[in-house]
């Protein structure tokens, strides 16, 4: 649901929307620059920097060696000097080779310095499966990054959100991880569902972190989700409507901070909660959301379910990948289960 009332005819893919906000911020502030593998001439494997080289040149749209520790760490260092780097990790799955820079430096320097140092870095990365790229290139890892204190974490699901959240991310004085789902970007070779392409205002605007968005209002069951699964939940909601089950879909948009109030408000209305996540089930988003609701108002919960990847690496072959990554049918089944309790 768009937060502006003006009528906008222009629709953008999610990648175009991201690029537009990055370009805007780069025009406004010379201290913003973008580093990553294949971000210059290629324009980002997932179109995250398409066209930016032409406007800003190689000094500001920097291809870097395949040395994630060095360039992510360099982005941390430049950010601590007050610049506003955006560094792209091509796939979130590759964070392992630079984990220390993310987990021990980026996330902790502010705290360890007693707030005397800050790291205004945006770390972008592609996440997600559904195209049979197997265990090392299909993870979402939301829980991994949300777990470590000190990182803000953004997961857009539409072009409108992607732009506003990116403006906010670049302007934020803290480290922000901006995880975009490949399937939503609108890349020529990976067809997106229809949902993420939305009207997007030409002007800049911010979407505050910690503001979950009700993507569909409903009275019977609350589905809390993010990223690609917002669209799968909306598809499930459409077919459940035909059965007389009215589903509310809450798009978290940011995991850190997490908008517990909006979730609670919805659950107090419906009494039934299904949390849907493309990450591994254990120790992750689904458990956290349910725990927050239970902590704050256990009595509001009449029934609860979660839908997530069942603690196995993402398998390659189609029947197995389809089995483990939740689809609209899986969501429908769990919604029906809570609705009948």
């Amino acid at each position: 649901m768009s937060e502006t009332d003006e009528v906008i005819d222009r629709e953008l893919t999610m990648s175009r929307a991201m690029v537009e906000s990055i370009a805007h911020e780069m025009r406004e502030d010379e201290e913003v620059f973008y580093m990553g593998e294949d971000v210059a001439d290629y324009g980002g494997i997932f179109d995250s920097t398409q066209g930016l080289l032409d406007e800003f040149g190689r000094d500001r749209i920097m291809d870097v060696p395949i040395s994630e520790t060095a360039y992510l760490g360099a982005a941390v260092g430049a950010a601590q000097e007050g610049m506003r780097p955006i560094a792209e990790l091509m796939f979130a799955d590759f964070f392992g080779v630079a984990m220390d820079q993310i987990y021990n430096q980026l996330a902790k320097n502010t705290y360890m310095s007693g707030g005397n140092v800050n790291v205004p870095l945006v770390l972008t990365a592609a996440v997600g499966g559904t195209y049979n790229d197997a265990a090392q290139h299909s993870q979402t890892l939301y829980g991994t990054f949300a777990h470590i204190p000190g990182l803000k974490l953004v997961v857009p699901s539409t072009a409108y959100d992607a732009k506003g959240l990116m403006h906010n991310a670049i302007r934020d004085d803290d480290p922000v991880m901006y995880l975009f789902h490949k399937r939503l970007m609108g890349i020529g070779w990976m067809p997106a569902p229809s949902g993420p392409k939305t009207p997007v205002p030409e002007t800049d605007y911010t979407i505050p972190f910690g503001s979950a968005d009700i993507k569909r209002e409903g009275a019977d069951v609350t589905v809390v989700t993010l990223g690609l699964h917002v669209h799968r939940a909306l598809a499930a909601a459409e077919s459940l409507a035909a059965e007389g089950i009215d589903v509310e879909v809450v798009d978290l948009r940011t995991l850190v901070p997490l908008d517990t109030d909006t979730i609670l408000e919805s659950v107090r209305k419906t009494g039934r909660l299904v949390v849907v996540d493309e990450d591994y089930r254990s120790f992750g988003v689904t458990g956290e959301v349910i725990a927050r609701v239970a902590d704050r108002d256990l009595g509001a919960l009449d029934a609860v379910e979660r839908v997530a990847v069942p603690d196995v690496p993402i398998p390659y072959a189609r029947p197995m990948e389809n089995e483990v990554i939740p689809d609209a049918d899986d969501i429908e089944a769990r919604v029906r289960a809570v609705a009948s309790e």
């Binding site: 001439d41 790229d133 197997a134 990976m190 603690d311 390659y316 483990v324």
Partner: protein, 348 residues
Amino acid sequence: MVSQDKLCELYADMLTARYYEERLQEEYLEGKQPAFDISAGPIPGELHLAAGQEAAAVGVCHHLRADDTVTAPHRPHHVAIAKGVDLKRMSAEIFGRKTGLGKGKGGHMHLFDPDVSFACSGIIAEGCPPAAGAALAATKRNEDAVAVAFLGEGAIDQGAFLESLNFASVHDLPVVFVVEDNDWAISMPKERVTDVEDGSDRAAGFDMPGIRVDQDDAIAVYEAAGEAIGRARDRNGPTLLEVQVHRRMGHFMGDPQTYRSDADEEAALARDSIDRLEAELRDHGVDDDELDAIRDEAESRVDEAIAWAKEQPHPDPDDAYDDVFVNPPSGVTTEEPEFELAEVNADE
């Protein structure tokens, strides 16, 4: 001098690898035309082909035994073929079938064939430390097995590679690091991201020999690799070997290559290490009939493997839950326990 029989073997494997990938390409594009959809067709996901890189793989692997470990990167087929990986089960894996090397769980970037000590990984340079580890195991057990890690020239800037060089050097490990220099890391030309022109110069800083084979000539690779692997086998320590190869295709299937000049692509296509070896064989007096026979045999082996793979059963959805552990700890469940919150609330 490399014997004529050996040259014919190298040639056969190079043809096998090239033809194999041509066949995979056809299969891969099925269902992906006219609009390219990476998740469609009998082979979904990314596919990185190695046409133009065969000389490096065969020149090195033809010195190796089944118990010598090889790790390959995301572009593994030519290396796997040269190492003697089971072509049928490898194909079945790429088609995502139940009888594939990894039961359809791994896919083309994650092929494991322990029978011939072969493994690969899709994370750049991450095959280097395990290769050093295989060499370490051989040393500890007093075996004369060696290990080889293959990587692209884009991987020589990665910590896992550089740390492995030092680790191998300081422990005198029987391991050879083979850099296939195809000039490109996806869209990034080597000179944009690496300050040395010759990747084998990296060896000097780790006190190990560095060799560069400047042309993708299977015979030259075979000779240089013989020296490096001999050194490892004789327990005289690691070597870094770089081979100039050529990327005849895009980085992955579907790569528009808009970043690449026509001249560069044409230059890569103009030099074909298979043609070069074929000319060499003719100089040795191998005639058309013999060359044709080698080609026919290579092609029928490939056709047979792919036909076999396509007849194999698909995995069941529930197979996804197996193999996380070889010894599944008790208490791990894949089913969500039934939990009646309403009752908990009612009891309060």
